[in-house]
Amino acid sequence: MREAGIGIALILLIVFFLIFSPNFGTTSNWSNIFTQITLNNIIAVGMTFVILIGGIDLSVGSVLALSAVLSATILVSKSISTSVAIPLSILTSFGIGIIIGFLNGAITEKWKIHSFVITLGMMNIARGAALEYTDAATIYQLPKVFVKFGSTQILGFIPAIFIVALILVIIGHFILTRTVFGRFVYTIGNNEEAVRLSGHNTSVYKISTFAICGLMAGIAGVIYIARMSVANASIGTGYELNAITAVIIGGTSFSGGKGSMTGTFLGACLIGVLNNGLILRGVSTFIRQMIVGLVLIVAVIIDKYRKKISTAMQDKMVNQFYKE
């Protein structure tokens, strides 16, 4: 229902740009769009988990940077052979993501402080750590095999890194809809106390969602350096906000409990297509930023009306039932 609305909006947008931007439909442009939405999609997958459970994670952009510079250092290290360095750097990246995510969740849960505050702190810690570690220098000349993956195209226009993002979306969707863990994400997001009093340790699940979110930021870090073939400590700035925007446009309730991975995916696609189409139409960066902000607000308002209508319909049906 909710997803259908975003899906229709996305299709209309694509049709609009196909008509009004001559270069929009070319394969090279499609390839561009896919590349542009990859990172946001990956981070938004993790963000969906955290927002569904009623939290927020502002540290993902910084975690991306930290994991990127750490794994880049391993990759360019002269003392480690490339065949060892690649898996090692990937593991390091994922590991640092999970650890920071776990810390975000554990501190939030232990002292019952809103995750906004904790992850705001962590955002600065991770960014500072990345800057300190690299001394603000840029790392380049990454191994060729590694960088090659970042620019591989399947069928000539689908980037391999986008396939990675797509797989993560599908796994995320599966976890949310088909697993016990997913059930806990939704129920805790709706009413944590009821779940706790039903005999469950809710903290475990909440911390796990933060760990997943951190892991996604770590994965995004690896993808980033594979794609850009450089790493420095200031990459990924503002990515957390882009991811949150995608999740919210995707129809996930900011207070938790309601939403879906499909929605998030469509939300990220919508922003990507909008940005790309506007660039092709020659709209300036500043105006684009304004438009994305506007879309976010409008999407939330439309969602409000949609909810009102569906509640009214539901009420009517229920009344009908109890009359009979």
């Binding site: 088909r178 697993t179 016990v180 863990f181 997913g182 059930r183 939704y186 129920t187 709706n190 009413n191 106390e193 009821a194 779940v195 706790r196 009093l197 039903s198 005999g199 469950h200 340790n201 409990g257 309601k258 539901q314 009420d315 049906m317 229920v318 039932f321 109890y322 009359k323």
Partner: protein
């Protein structure tokens, strides 16, 4: 609502009764300008009254004391009473006048404490009084009380009635909504019965009886008010609590429960009943205490531990603590034990569907489907969902905190029957209730709490309302 006509006289207590969903709340919300009627007219003091928003009703002198207290918890009593119109001097709040006025009005409604006390720490009864004080401060002509006594003890209820009578003397009209029929006879002048959004009748209180009202409310005669099955015999002890002290408690509490027994816990609100039960269940931390299940000592540190031993707590506040309102019945039922419907962490929706349907049928939960969101169910059906979820977990010891609070008469009887069915299966049931006739009606044994201590224990043969009440008040002197 359909075609409801109603007249309310100045200075009377007009009681509205009816089962949940009968339209009482809708009716008063129209009076308060929260809803606007599709058809029909209202007259106030002979003049056309057509409130479009709550402010219109407030300006016309209509005030509502809400079931869910709409208060500003972190602000003081004085600020809560006067926040709509602070006494001021040159644009600044005049605190001296504010506190003076508040003190006077607190005296009038019998509210103890200081005007500067924050509202969050007040008891339920005091919060009701603060709301009434606010209504008085604005010189309301009509005060609507929606279930004001739901969480009050009988003593507090009496004080509330005194205040209502005083208000009547001053010419204030009171519209009173209550599920407690006994109260109608005591405080009401006239009573209007609603059913399915229609008015059944308005009668003088002196002309009616409780069975008569019940008949009007549910549209049929009711059998007995409380079921009690003398054939169900209680067995050996299954559960025992020794020397338990909850956080903030001054004394230790011990109690035991037998197989097939309905054990009532009586006492005033704030006497430590709920705190004890929450501490047993591990919902709140406890300072000390041993718990035995079938004579074996068990450790309960969290609700998870309790549920592992098949001990469950059905809290009073179902909406906040028992149910996930925005999710379907099936999810609410299976949340207690997802292992039954999952394999290797993967949910089996078909199985969930099947078991939920079975339980919905078994407990006669009225819902169009197991996928219906719980928020759309009536209070009685919601309570049944809570019971179903614990039966799904195969709970052995069930602790109910106010199982029939806010549930209408017809549904109450069904809940009592359910409690009996559970006990007859050989499980142990503890029922905490402020409604003494209810405990006397359905329990085998009653333990009385008074000021944080167990003040007595009474067997069914010796049940006596006066004695239990005096035990409940024993430690307050």
């Amino acid at each position: 609502m359909k075609n409801v006509s109603l007249d309310i006289r100045e200075g009377e207590v007009h009681v509205l009764v009816g089962e949940n969903g009968a339209g009482k709340s809708t009716l008063v919300k129209i009076l308060c300008g929260i809803y606007t009627p599709n058809e029909g007219e209202m007259y106030l003091g002979g003049k056309r009254f057509n409130p479009q928003r709550p402010l219109d009703a407030i300006q016309a002198g209509i005030r509502m004391v809400y079931q869910e207290f709409n208060m500003l918890p972190f602000l003081s009593i004085a600020e809560n009473i006067y926040f709509e119109k602070f006494p001021s001097k040159r644009g600044l709040v005049d605190y001296r006048t504010l506190y003076q006025n508040t003190e006077n009005i607190m005296k009038e409604v019998g509210l103890n404490g200081s005007p500067q006390d924050p509202v969050e720490f007040l008891g339920v009864a005091q919060k009701v009084l603060v709301q009434i004080a606010k209504a008085i401060s604005t010189e309301a002509k009509i005060i609507i009380l929606d279930e004001p006594t739901a969480a009050l003890t009988s003593k507090e209820t009496q004080r509330l009635f005194d205040i209502v009578r005083q208000l009547n003397k001053k010419g204030v009209t009171v519209i009173y909504i209550s599920h407690r029929l006994q109260e109608i006879l005591e405080i009401g002048d006239r009573v209007t019965v609603l059913r399915n959004g229609e008015k059944v009748d308005t009668q003088e209180v002196k002309d009616i009886t409780i069975p008569g009202i019940v008949k009007m409310m549910i549209g049929r005669d009711m059998e007995t008010e409380y079921p009690f099955d003398p054939d169900v015999k209680t067995g050996q002890e299954v559960f025992r609590v020794e020397e338990l002290k909850y956080r903030g408690g001054k004394n230790t509490i011990s109690l035991s429960l037998n197989r097939g027994e309905l054990l009532g816990i009586a006492g005033l609100v704030g006497s430590g009943r709920t705190e004890t039960m929450r501490a047993i269940f591990g919902a709140d931390k406890r300072i000390q205490g041993k718990i035995y299940l079938r004579n074996k000592k068990i450790t309960i540190k969290s609700p998870k531990d309790a549920v592992k031993h098949r001990i469950c707590l059905i809290t009073e506040d179902k909406k906040m603590q028992g149910l996930i309102l925005e999710m379907p019945c099936s999810v609410n039922i299976t949340i207690t034990d997802l292992t039954q419907i999952a394999k290797l962490g993967l949910l089996n929706y078909g199985k969930e569907h099947k078991v939920s349907k079975e339980l919905i049928k078994e407990f006669a939960i009225q819902t169009p489907s197991d996928l219906q969101l719980v928020k759309y169910l009536s209070g009685g059906n919601q309570q049944k969902v809570v019971i179903a979820k614990w039966m799904f977990r195969k709970a052995d010891i069930l602790i109910f905190d106010e199982p029939t609070c806010g549930i209408d008469v017809g549904a109450k009887y069904e809940i009592y029957l359910l409690l009996w069915r559970i006990a007859a299966q050989g499980k142990g049931v503890i029922i905490v209730s402020s409604n003494l006739p209810e405990l006397i009606g359905i329990c085998h044994r009653i333990i009385v709490f008074s000021n944080g201590k167990v003040s007595g224990e009474v067997e069914r043969d010796n049940f006596n309302q006066e004695e239990i009440l005096s035990l409940a008040y024993q430690n307050y002197i």
